[in-house]
């Protein structure tokens, strides 16, 4: 389907991922296309959507890992330079433990994301399971790390001058788009009970 006047678009205004993503509601009114425009085979489109989304899930996990790394970097830098109650934040045990938790979650997320990508590259059908596991874990991870990062930054983290403020809003959609957390659970549960689906890799 090429861009045409039969396509009606209304823009959506979003909490995060603003600007670049250009989310919109799209309406198709009597749009005419030909046999040559069928992608794959007639009545086999759902599979295309699903396989594409499997891949896109790894992309989302990549976004989650990147945003989280940015938040952790900012929080660490802030903790080193900001003082409260007479010493740098980083000398307070609670801050140390928060940063340690953030780092732990991040590295687990990175590992599972890379594993999913590796499985795809090596044409291993386990890829489908790992794409969902990585997406489910890293989306939640990104929201939690962003929340913890904003908390360490305090008022600065709530202001639009910080990276973490934006990351917090951006992270939320990762739990919704390209299959919600719940959709990942459906996939994981199905694989658990029925085995892996057949996919061409």
């Amino acid at each position: 389907m090429r861009r045409s006047n039969c396509v009606e678009v209304s823009k959506l205004e979003m909490m995060g991922m603003r600007g670049g993503a250009g989310e919109a509601e799209v309406k198709f009114n009597d749009c005419v296309v030909g046999d040559d425009d069928v992608l794959g085979k007639v009545n086999e489109g759902f599979k295309i959507a699903m396989v594409t989304l499997d891949l896109a899930r790894i992309g989302i996990s990549g976004v989650a890992v990147g945003l989280s790394q940015g938040v952790l970097d900012e929080a660490l830098e802030w903790a080193k330079t900001r003082t409260a109650f007479g010493k740098p934040l980083i000398d307070w045990e609670w801050i140390q433990f928060q940063l340690a938790d953030m780092k732990t979650k991040l590295e687990i997320g990175r590992t599972v994301t890379y594993k999913a990508a590796w499985l795809y590259d090596n044409k291993d059908p386990l890829f489908v399971l790992y794409a969902s596991i990585a997406k489910l874990y890293t989306a939640q991870m990104a929201v939690e790390i962003a929340r913890d990062g904003v908390q360490i930054l305090g008022g600065f983290g709530y202001s639009k001058e910080s990276f973490s403020e934006r990351a917090y809003r951006d992270a939320k959609v990762l739990e919704i788009a390209e299959g919600t957390n719940e959709a990942q659970k459906i996939v994981i549960h199905r694989i658990l009970t029925r085995g892996l689906p057949e996919v061409e890799l």
């Binding site: 823009k11 959506l12 409260a84 709530y158 202001s159 639009k160 403020e165 917090y168 959609v173």
Partner: protein
């Protein structure tokens, strides 16, 4: 909207809830979205709430309040926040942090002349404690007030994250250092400072509670008099802490109101939405989400009202309960709202604009 019921509430509270809800629907609901999207400061709403005694309901009626107890005041903030969290915060700052502090600690002139105008929303008051150096560590603030001859004080320094601090405030309660830094909370004095060219303000753009005029303030040689001391010299820290104890209950109430509105919206959404060939409400996971949210909200309600009653009954450990209520309510509330966004999917993440 889910009903507000609790064994602690009197008939008077219930009538008050109805009044606040009616005012909120009339004045807040029409501008709630604009407050957020356009960073719009709802000056006229503050005036309307003030006229009806619900801006600082804790004050006696002759001072522009509604003669309510702390519980009643918490309820008003909860109800207002069902329509707008920003408006809940503005009511907290104007009513609890500023007006009540002047009423409790101010001299006769502040109490007789200033307080009723603040309570009625004729004047806007701002609470200036936090600084670029220090938020949580408020006893380390650096803004200085130096006494010079003729009963005059000169104030210099920066304040940060000050609600309705910039373009809107007519008066400020400013916490300043009036002794060595090492003396920490024992050398802090509160002053009444009126809007003046010596105060420079720049807005701070924030993620949420938008439209509340969050600002950074710089005080350049602001001159005030002995008569402008709120309470006593070097005893200002206590005023800040007492105000913030009330503020904690209020913030917990804001979270409660927001959570109730979020649950209401999520419930409405799943009732009308179908997925996998059935109504969403048939799905066990959805039912359990809604049940968790309801359980958390009623837990929040109990702890928030309980903390308010600790104030009203003058229990010695009321301040501990204020902190317990704030801590618990915001953690549970964040969880409830996160789940509500998840249940409503992309509809919560975005809103159609054109």
């Amino acid at each position: 909207m889910i009903p507000i019921r609790h064994p602690s509430l009197t008939k008077e509270h219930e009538k008050f809830i109805e009044l606040v809800d009616e005012l909120s629907r009339r004045f807040i609901e029409p501008v709630a979205d604009k407050i957020d999207r356009e960073n719009y400061y709802p000056r006229e709403v503050i005036r309307e709430l003030g006229k009806n005694g619900v801006l600082a309901p804790i004050l006696p009626r002759e001072y522009g309040g509604y003669g309510m107890d702390v519980l009643g005041t918490a309820l008003s903030i909860e109800v207002i926040s069902r329509y707008s969290g920003s408006m809940g915060i503005l009511t907290e700052v104007q009513g609890f942090l500023v007006t009540d502090a002047f009423y409790t600690y101010g001299n006769k002139q502040m109490k007789e002349e200033l307080v009723p105008k603040l309570a009625r929303g004729e004047l806007i008051g701002s609470f200036a404690l936090s600084e670029p150096c220090c938020g949580s560590d408020a006893a380390a603030i650096e803004t200085k007030a130096e006494r010079r001859g003729g009963g005059e004080w000169v104030i210099n320094g920066k304040k940060m994250w000050i609600t309705q601090g910039g373009l809107y405030a007519d008066v400020y309660i400013v916490f300043t250092r009036t002794g060595p830094k090492e003396a920490r909370h024992r050398a802090i004095t509160a002053f009444l400072v009126r809007r003046n060219k010596c105060i420079e303000a720049s807005p701070i753009h924030v993620m949420g509670i938008r439209g509340t005029g969050t600002s950074e303030l710089t005080f350049n040689d602001c001159v005030v008099g002995d008569d402008d001391v709120v309470g006593k010299v070097n005893e200002g820290f206590k005023i800040a802490m007492e105000a913030l104890n009330l503020g904690r209950i209020a913030v917990a109430s804001v979270t409660l109101g927001l959570s109730e509105a979020a649950l209401t919206e999520a419930l409405e959404w799943v009732r009308n939405r179908r997925a996998f060939d059935q109504p969403m409400t048939n799905l066990e996971w959805i039912q359990f989400q809604l049940a968790d949210m309801m359980a958390y909200i009623e837990t929040m309600r109990s702890i928030v009202y309980d903390a308010a009653l600790h104030f009203d009954r003058k229990y010695e450990d009321y301040y501990a309960f204020a902190s317990i209520a704030k801590l618990t309510a915001v953690l549970l509330g964040m969880d409830v709202i996160r789940r509500a966004v998840q249940l409503t999917g992309l509809m919560a993440f975005g809103a159609i604009v054109s």
